[in-house]
Amino acid sequence: MRPFTYERATKPADAAAAAVRNPGAKFIAGGTNLLDLMKLEIEVPRHLIDVNGLGLDTIQPTAEGGLRIGALVTNTDLAADQRVRRDYGVLSRAIVAGASGQLRNKATTAGNLLQRTRCPYFYDTNQACNKRRPGSGCAAIGGYSRQLAVIGSSSACIATYPGDMAVAMRALDAAVETVAPNGAVRTIPIADFHRLPGDTPHIETALAPGELIIAVTLPRPLGGTHVYRKVRDRASYAFALVSVAAVIQRDGSGRVAVGGIAHKPWRVEAAERRLAEGSKVVAATLLAGAKPTQDNAFKVPLVERTLAAALHDARNMA
């Protein structure tokens, strides 16, 4: 690990300002992704701003009847919150489907949203990777790509966004609240938060330099049945090959978002409008234009089957 200076921030706007004042600065929350990458010198911050003392660790009701989740609320506390379990079950389910108990005790809402890809070539500093070193190429293209994207990828990067929590947040139409170094506050819809790789796979989100996440807001509860289905190589403690977050209403309408297949949680509203026609039609619409590799072509039928299983679960639970 490279040396770095360290400070503990006490006010959100001060933390954001400190991030632009110190070149090479990064925020550290739970540290479970950042430190992992710092040990491998994939991330090499010169200055760390510890945001754990910002007082952003509560979940509050909003005036609109939703919830405002502080950026520093841990994954365990968010998944265990009674309101979340009752009204946003898909979010609790997605969180507990990820990582381990130890990691969820440290992982935070903001840090989880910003976790970086698990592309094996991103992790191997001897390999070309446009995300790690812009312009160096992409060793995954033509390499071992079983875990990687089947849709929305580019000729520069075929990595996936690996997280579970954000897939549920996408289905719920959450919004990310931030504060900029100049103190300006803005709200970014989750649909626009994660980006597709395009020619700049190293730019992963809509955040500007130094912009700090302060909260994630959930709109008022949708009702319906909440399901999160995750398919992985072992029954627990593994990243998704494919996951489906679904909120299905009694009349069969609803929302579905898919994880593990793209550089961002994948949701296509036009596909949801065809839920009544069954999982085959929905999956085909969701994956229109998919460009799987030979290694990950299995994800295309797997999306359809995982979706079918999620819809089946929803019917059984309703």
Binding site: P3, F4, T5, R8, A9, N22, S92, V96, S100, Y237
Partner: protein, 211 residues
């Protein structure tokens, strides 16, 4: 300004910065190519409560809690396995919650209460979970055992507190210490000898249920 002066300033900045947000760390001047020299190692004082004792140490900011426990505080019961949060051998309790001590910086734990395997019990006064692991042969080589035991203690606490897991059927109901619940919650602790079924028996014994 040479590197040494630079790092002295940085260090002072960090020390002053303990309580409030003050980023007085100066920015190293760029060289002719626009490449800044690598920062020098920075150390900071740190006080935490480990196994009921207040300890003050000086640590490099890069030191993980795991390395601070093992190398600075000579508490080598906590083990380093993968050092990337994948195996669970480094599991300790911080303010009562289990975490991977390898994926957290020591300096992030100013004032925290840390419990390691040495603090759970002693050879002549074992914690009930330690005693149950002995009784049920919940290990072979023993390397993952301190992490398994810390995790197991916390798992029963999490079930009692009603924290849901991936296998909890009804999110609005309280989970119980069933085999499925305990297995799922222990998935962050890998045992390469495969002592899993005996670990489960030890946990069931402490939880007062049949494995």
């Amino acid at each position: 300004m040479d590197d040494r002066e630079q790092s002295a300033i940085s260090r002072r900045g960090v020390l002053v910065g303990g309580a409030a947000t003050v980023a007085v760390t100066a920015t190293p001047a760029a060289d002719a190519q626009g490449v800044r020299p690598a920062p020098q190692p920075v150390t900071m004082p740190l006080t935490l409560e480990v196994n009921g004792k207040r300890r003050t140490i000086e640590v490099d900011t890069r030191t993980t809690l795991l390395d601070a426990l093992r190398e600075k505080l000579e508490l080598t019961g906590t083990k380093k396995g993968c050092d990337h949060g994948q195996c669970g051998a480094c599991t300790v309790l911080v303010d009562g919650k289990r975490i991977n001590s390898c994926l957290t910086l020591a300096v992030m734990h100013q004032g925290d209460k840390v419990t390691t395997i040495e603090g759970l019990g002693t050879p002549d006064k074992l914690h009930p979970m330690q005693a149950a692991f002995v009784r049920h042969d919940g290990y072979q080589c023993g390397y993952c055992t301190p992490g398994q035991i810390c995790s197991a203690v916390a798992v029963l606490g999490e079930i009692k507190a009603g924290v849901p897991s991936h296998v909890t059927a009804d999110l609005t109901a309280r989970p119980g210490p069933t085999n499925d619940e305990m297995r799922e919650r222990m998935s962050g602790n890998i045992c390469r000898c495969g002592a899993y079924s005996n670990i489960l028996e030890a946990m069931a014994d402490v939880a007062g249920v049949k494995a």
